[in-house]
Symmetry: none
Subunit: 224 residues, 4 copies
Amino acid sequence: MARPAGIKGEQTRQRILASSLALFARSGYAAVSMREIALDVGVGAGALYNHFTTKQHILMAIMEDHMRALLSAYYASANACQRDAQTQLEAFVRFHISYHTALPNEVFLSYMELRALEPENFKIIEALRRNYETILKDILTLGVQQRQMACDDIHVSAMAILAMLTGVTSWFRQQGRLTRHQIENIYVSLVMRSVAVPMASQNQDQNNNQSRKIMPIKGKQAHV
Amino acid sequence: MARPAGIKGEQTRQRILASSLALFARSGYAAVSMREIALDVGVGAGALYNHFTTKQHILMAIMEDHMRALLSAYYASANACQRDAQTQLEAFVRFHISYHTALPNEVFLSYMELRALEPENFKIIEALRRNYETILKDILTLGVQQRQMACDDIHVSAMAILAMLTGVTSWFRQQGRLTRHQIENIYVSLVMRSVAVPMASQNQDQNNNQSRKIMPIKGKQAHV
Amino acid sequence: MARPAGIKGEQTRQRILASSLALFARSGYAAVSMREIALDVGVGAGALYNHFTTKQHILMAIMEDHMRALLSAYYASANACQRDAQTQLEAFVRFHISYHTALPNEVFLSYMELRALEPENFKIIEALRRNYETILKDILTLGVQQRQMACDDIHVSAMAILAMLTGVTSWFRQQGRLTRHQIENIYVSLVMRSVAVPMASQNQDQNNNQSRKIMPIKGKQAHV
Amino acid sequence: MARPAGIKGEQTRQRILASSLALFARSGYAAVSMREIALDVGVGAGALYNHFTTKQHILMAIMEDHMRALLSAYYASANACQRDAQTQLEAFVRFHISYHTALPNEVFLSYMELRALEPENFKIIEALRRNYETILKDILTLGVQQRQMACDDIHVSAMAILAMLTGVTSWFRQQGRLTRHQIENIYVSLVMRSVAVPMASQNQDQNNNQSRKIMPIKGKQAHV
DNA sequence: GATGAATGAGTCTTCATTCAT
DNA sequence: GATGAATGAAGACTCATTCAT
């Protein structure tokens, strides 16, 4: 009678988050009712308010958890501490694809329902999102400095690459034709080439190891 | 005798579509009420039903109009009848960016609110969407046949490129730092490189004019 | 160009009445919309208001027309001028059944939608209805005076008989098992017997032909 | 510990049924709004939906409850186990009048709003209604077998008698000129006579074929 | 911590009716 | 006499949220 106080509550809280995530991702925040969530959790509608003060609060919890987890995961990944810009970029692409295909609902929601956030909450999530974008921008900046990459516009390129990478979640299916790893390779290839230094400018000093990793094609990544 | 019967009706219909588009794009289909639309149009809520039988019907009209207009516009563009795959691809990128930045709301809505469509309507829009995707896939396929492009997986590449290109609408602002033309150039560069044939395989038969145009390589990225 | 003014209008008016009658009878006054009526008539909704100022007005027109026609038809029927109460009653039964099965919608509506009438209109229709009920009451009164009928309570008996007779419209179908004439016969029989003079009280002055006809049951009417 | 959970809910449910019954009976199902019901119950309109999923559902609950209660009450009444057809018929008439004048709203509603039932619900109520009609038909059939009654057509007679009996609710008022018991007597008399065996044919026996089947009265059906 | 009944504003949609054309 | 677009109130029903139990 005494013990598991708080335990059950936490479990319910997690179930609410899980159900809400799935429902919000499927139908959109505005189109999901508290009753639907409660039904999915297997609880009365009123019970939700023991754990979240507001529907908005549920959304915010999901998004903030996701963004913080994403950043933590990136920094936790060994990849993050590479020196070389190309290595970093490949690692970033692999990390992004892998993380996003593993948690497609969280990702989708965090892109789609920004507009459903109240201004205050929006600011918070936006800041976290910018932190993540900055990671890529920094890689590109470094790559350009290192003359490993060519980039017409760091910001635009970063946005374009992120859109491309994130887009994978909109069609990726766990049981699809391609494995997650194959997809990673394809995207690595697409991205690396998209910021590749045109031949002329890299001629001597780039025929080395990494290039073999990322390049699906031949050995001579002249185009990288 | 010259009675404007039907004129006023058509005007209202167009105003409903315009208001709905803006509101749906800003807040999402589910979050916009018929009253809001009516208010924006400057009409009583009931009057909407003289022109559309259903809220869903408004959404469908917007999406279908957009998809059909998009396809028509592409086929109408001189670009569509190019022979050369690289020329076609560049034309496609420019067309896509230009069209999508010109009509960001339509584009955004047609991506975002697919889930708000009733199954029957979803099928129709999906079919139109696939038509458009096929255009790009055909270009890539041709490019690979012509040995002008390298593509690990046509489908994935097409989806990735489209996601990248369409993503532009999520941050592009008319009055932003870059002109639409500059952005086009950046994306052309990103896309062309992302499917570029690695050096070795093109060195003999591809060192000609076009390659210089499309290829980011060398120093002559005039178009970038 | 000049002539048929008023002709077309009258036709439309009649079509409105006919459609309304059918729809009101099927679904009830409150459940039928002006648009439904207009659709059935084949006219825009607004056009109805050229002929009737109000939905209520349509209902009233139908009911009043019906009640007046009913009374006219009864008085016009030769039957109404019989002297003999039994003959009159039989005639009344036949008239009622025949008229009511011929116009089931009018009858049904005039019973069912009394409550839909605004007070003023209700009074008018009620008065007409009472006129009709009075016909039957007068016959029963005469029959009792003439010692051809036995009636515990004229009013109650009249209401009971009318309910019975009118009830036929609720199940009668033109193509049913029984012809209208057969049904008339059955009801004549039921009604005549229901007000028949019990044997004992008529044996002196009533032992004539008719009495035998109407008399049901011996002396065992303890319960009567 | 003795927590009255569910008590309040059940009370509200009953109040909704009672209010709806009164309002539907007075104005008709289609003419009564959920708001009116809620107002009468003394509750917000939304609260109705905690107890009934639909307006139709309220109507159905009233009707089904009524029909089942009617059947139960009949079978529960001692009258139902009489052997003698005449006794049964009298008992049936008294039961019907008594039950129907006691619950005029339920009865009225169950007759009037059949058309407001959705097809599925209609079937259910119709079946229950037929059960009840069958009771009377069985009595008449037995009466004819026992040569206590004469009936031209069992079905038509049963419908006619039920219409007559039920009609009482349309004019009966608790405080009227006649007591319920007096009315019962009048109707018993009317009904018993309406199916009485004609005198002549019952002392000797019916000396011709048709007369037994269809023709009530002797040979002299001049009036038939 | 959970329930279930309640609220009051809000949902999409339909209503009877009006009126310029 | 008819149309079709409009109105404003009302329709059934759902919403996020509250609170006594």
